[in-house]
């Protein structure tokens, strides 16, 4: 069933702050097998001009995707999450995410399209720090595949 176009442009309330911890960044870097010391050693990070260890470029997805859950689970929108696949992902960073950040995410529905029976939903997550400064924007395209025989 096609999603309601009137949801385009709808923003959801900012999330509670997510506090980025050094050990969480380490855990993520180890999970992707990346030994770059800028993720684990504050001195190595400072040598590159960062105030503390930074997170890998895609780390913030864990935070923005959780925030996008507000959209995905919005009963009024009525997306069938069991049929959803991740289509595209993009990040634009004002600066890298780093340990000590307290990040909030504001999710907005950028577009809703129906292509060959699939619902295609573009969600934008604007990530700000505690001072209200923009850190990164994440664009997530979700595709809800048409049910067989529909």
């Amino acid at each position: 069933m096609a999603l309601d176009q009137s949801f385009v442009g709808r923003s959801y309330p900012p999330t509670d702050p997510y506090e980025v911890g050094r050990e969480k960044i380490r855990e993520f870097a180890e999970a992707v097998g990346d030994p770059n010391p800028v993720y684990t050693d504050p001195e190595a990070a400072k040598a590159l001009g960062h105030p503390d260890v930074i997170a890998p470029p895609t780390f913030v997805f864990a935070i923005t995707f959780k925030a996008a859950g507000q959209v995905v689970r919005d009963p009024q929108l009525g997306l069938d999450y069991s049929r959803v696949v991740h289509g595209d992902q993009k990040f634009v960073h004002r600066r890298p995410v780093r340990a000590g950040d307290r990040l909030t995410v504001t999710s907005t529905i950028d577009s809703i399209k129906s292509l060959a029976g699939n619902d295609v939903l573009d969600i934008r997550g604007e990530v700000h720090d505690e001072a209200g400064e923009h850190v990164v924007t994440a664009w997530t395209k979700l595709v809800s595949r048409a049910a067989e025989g529909a």
Partner: protein, 142 residues
């Protein structure tokens, strides 16, 4: 933010050192825990097949994280990545054996932009198939 590659030293067509990344079922369990993405298609073969997949598949975000390492290892400073986007075109199928799957990533400078930035276009392959499309990173060089 200090990249070790100088803007003046690269040209359109400059190739970045290619890399390959292994991924086993154990890798996916570890990534699930670290990322918080516990979708069973990434660890439960029975579930994956029930929803029409050939087998367990890697998290798209795992593949995305690996591919950009060709860029971050090149520049030295991952904080120099200004933009990064991909399209998930094919899944990385991860069999339940000791070898798992391999993701092969290459990249080259596609455009020289303003402010000492360049656009790098990445190609990520697994089992002979292109697993990412439109995989592009904009990175600030020294």
């Amino acid at each position: 933010m200090t990249a070790k590659i100088s803007y003046d030293d690269v040209e359109v067509g400059t190739e970045l050192p290619a890399q390959s990344f292994g991924v086993t079922r154990a890798t996916l369990v570890q990534y699930a825990g670290a990322s918080g993405d516990f979708n069973p298609i990434h660890w439960n073969e029975k579930f994956a097949k029930e929803v029409g997949l050939p087998d367990v598949i890697a998290h798209g975000m795992f593949t995305m994280a690996e591919a950009v390492r060709v860029v971050t290892d090149w520049t030295g400073d991952p904080g120099a990545v200004v933009e990064y986007g991909v399209r998930f075109t094919k899944p990385v199928v991860v069999p339940n054996d000791d070898q798992g799957a391999t993701i092969e990533v290459s990249g080259k400078v596609a455009v020289k932009l303003d402010d000492n930035t360049v656009r790098v276009d990445l190609v990520a392959m697994s089992a002979g198939q292109k697993v990412l499309g439109m995989s592009r990173a904009v990175v600030r060089l020294a």
